[in-house]
């Protein structure tokens, strides 16, 4: 009986802590959004962040995109050839990438590469009193540090997902057409005929935008809210990767069922 009560108590405590944190996170998001306007005016700050958040993530995105596309080409060919439909290989590769794999895998990589770096950087700035120092110099860290990074993440993510998808299609082409010998004309024309701008490309774009929003939000909040010690920063970095990966996969299911589902 005692154990049960203890268990319920700790469950309640856990729940309250989660909800409080969600509240703090939302308030933080709201305050950040009020400063996004100023960041647009001082775009130079955002521009620097796009470099460290976006450009530095480019390599891993491109390499992964290429390999994912190549694997898709191989797997797709084996399955399709059973039905004599290998000419649809291009369509299969393109649809899987634009609708799902492009936004989702790119966002997972983005969380691991850029999200963790953002959290660690902001967390260390907090731990070394740089954020407090800014506040005392009458410079709002939300405006000077957080908002430009947030905006940079939001801008970078859809671009990275698009590059991932493009490289993936190319990878599928290398394997399908180059190695296996699927007819090149059919590869492209089926793709062109089957991929819809609104249904596939735009929906994929919306997904990547949502993922960019959620990953960057989690990353900057975890950094800003961390316990200002080495251990606190390392924990926050881990939480960023775990939480944003879960958020990406969960949101992907919701978005997919809204966009493509009959439920």
């Amino acid at each position: 009986m005692k154990f049960l009560i203890k268990f319920l108590l700790s469950l309640g405590e856990w729940g309250i802590a989660r909800i409080t944190r969600l509240g703090r996170g939302s308030q933080f998001l709201f305050e950040t959004l009020t400063h996004v306007g100023q960041s647009l005016v001082r775009f130079r700050l955002v521009y620097h962040q796009i470099y460290s958040v976006g450009v530095l993530t480019l390599l891993i995105i491109m390499v992964s995109g290429l390999f994912v596309g190549m694997v898709l080409g191989l797997q797709g060919y084996y399955t399709l050839s059973d039905f004599g439909a290998e000419s649809s290989l291009g369509l299969l590769v393109a649809l899987s990438l634009t609708r799902e794999l492009g936004p989702v895998v790119a966002a997972l990589l983005f969380a691991g590469r850029a999200g963790s770096a953002l959290t660690a950087e902001i967390g260390l700035m907090k731990a070394t009193e740089q954020l407090a120092g800014m506040e005392m110099m009458a410079v709002n860290p939300l405006e000077r540090v957080i908002a430009p990074r947030f905006l940079a993440g939001l801008i970078s993510m859809p671009l990275l997902a698009a590059i991932f998808t493009a490289l993936g299609v190319w990878g599928g082409h290398i394997v399908g057409v180059g190695l296996i010998g699927v007819d090149e004309g059919l590869f492209w024309s089926r793709m062109q005929g089957g991929v819809d701008f609104y249904d596939d490309i735009l929906n994929g774009f919306i997904k990547s935008l949502v993922f960019g929003f959620i990953v960057t939000w989690i990353a900057v909040f975890e950094g800003y809210d961390c316990v200002p010690t080495s251990e606190g920063v390392s924990r926050a970095t881990t939480r960023t990767v775990v939480n944003s990966s879960l958020a990406i996969l969960g949101l992907d299911f919701i978005l997919t069922s809204l966009m493509f589902g009959e439920i």
């Binding site: 800014m134 506040e135 110099m137």
Partner: protein
């Protein structure tokens, strides 16, 4: 000054003639961290255009006091007034406007690690003014020259020693010519020469520009040479206050203990704890 060393709240609230001329006033301030009361009915006045030293042991809440004045922390009760404005009641915008007129020199320096020395000092100028690049250049080099680090302008903060970082932070704190500067342990970790330079600099800033200075320190000797007025704080309140002369010659036990660095006396050296012997025996329970 007969109330020197008079422990007890009555002495803190007794008006003395500084009040009219005070830039900063704390009235009956209380502040707690968790269950621990850091301040309990703390009252003090910081006179305008003077150097005021706040002395106190480690962990007595000196840094906390500066954060209360700077509006980074809010008192549980009592008033914090800076230049006629009640700090805890200011809106964010008003608070930031006030902060532009005061500098806080952090214990750690708190330089921005992604900017070099020059850009660190230029940071507040770029954020708050629209001065031309050549003016900024002049201004920054002038302040760096004052702290003797003009030659180090290209270095990154990671390439500076602790004392150098603190001097850069000082240059940054004075770059916009504030009305008041709060120094958190400005002498800790400085070699005798840098110490001399810093002492001279604080005096100069105070005399030439009339900048009000608050120096938080446990370095009694330096405080005596530099301060016009001194407060000794401990146990959440002001233990004694007076001019440097008065403090030096005070006969009160608390003041003597601190000024002479005696381990035993009325001021407890230990963080509040259970009885030592019970604590040591406590493993078995």
């Amino acid at each position: 000054m007969t109330d020197l060393g008079n422990s007890g709240n009555k002495s803190d609230n007794q008006a003395y003639s500084l009040t009219d001329n005070a830039l900063v006033q704390l009235v009956d301030v209380s502040f707690s961290r968790g269950n621990r009361k850091i301040f309990n009915g703390m009252s003090l006045d910081i006179p305008r255009a003077k150097v005021t030293a706040i002395l106190g042991g480690s962990g007595t809440g000196k840094t906390t006091l500066l954060n209360l004045i700077g509006g980074r922390l809010k008192p549980a009760s009592g008033k914090v007034i800076v230049d006629g404005l009640s700090v805890p009641d200011l809106s964010t915008r008003e608070l930031y406007a006030l902060r532009k007129r005061m500098g806080l020199l952090f214990q750690s320096g708190a330089l921005l690690t992604d900017l070099n020395v020059f850009e660190n000092v230029a940071f507040p100028v770029r954020e708050h003014t629209k001065l031309s690049e050549s003016l900024i250049h002049h201004l920054v080099l002038l302040k760096l020259q004052m702290v003797g680090l003009r030659g180090a302008r290209e270095l990154m903060p990671s390439e500076l020693s602790g004392g150098m970082a603190r001097r850069v932070a000082l240059a940054r704190a004075i770059v916009l010519d504030p009305m008041m500067i709060m120094y958190d342990e400005p002498f800790a970790g400085l070699d005798p020469i840098s110490m001399g330079i810093t002492v001279k600099l604080i005096k100069e800033l105070n005399h030439a520009l009339g900048i009000t200075s608050i120096i938080v320190t446990h370095d009694v000797d330096e405080a005596v040479t530099i301060a016009d007025y001194m407060y000794l704080i401990g146990e959440g309140r002001v233990i004694a206050h007076g001019s440097a002369e008065e403090m030096k010659n005070s006969s009160s036990d608390e003041v003597r203990q601190f000024m002479d660095g005696l381990p035993d006396g009325p001021v407890a050296f230990h963080y509040p704890a259970d009885d030592y012997r019970t604590d040591l025996m406590g493993v078995d329970q």
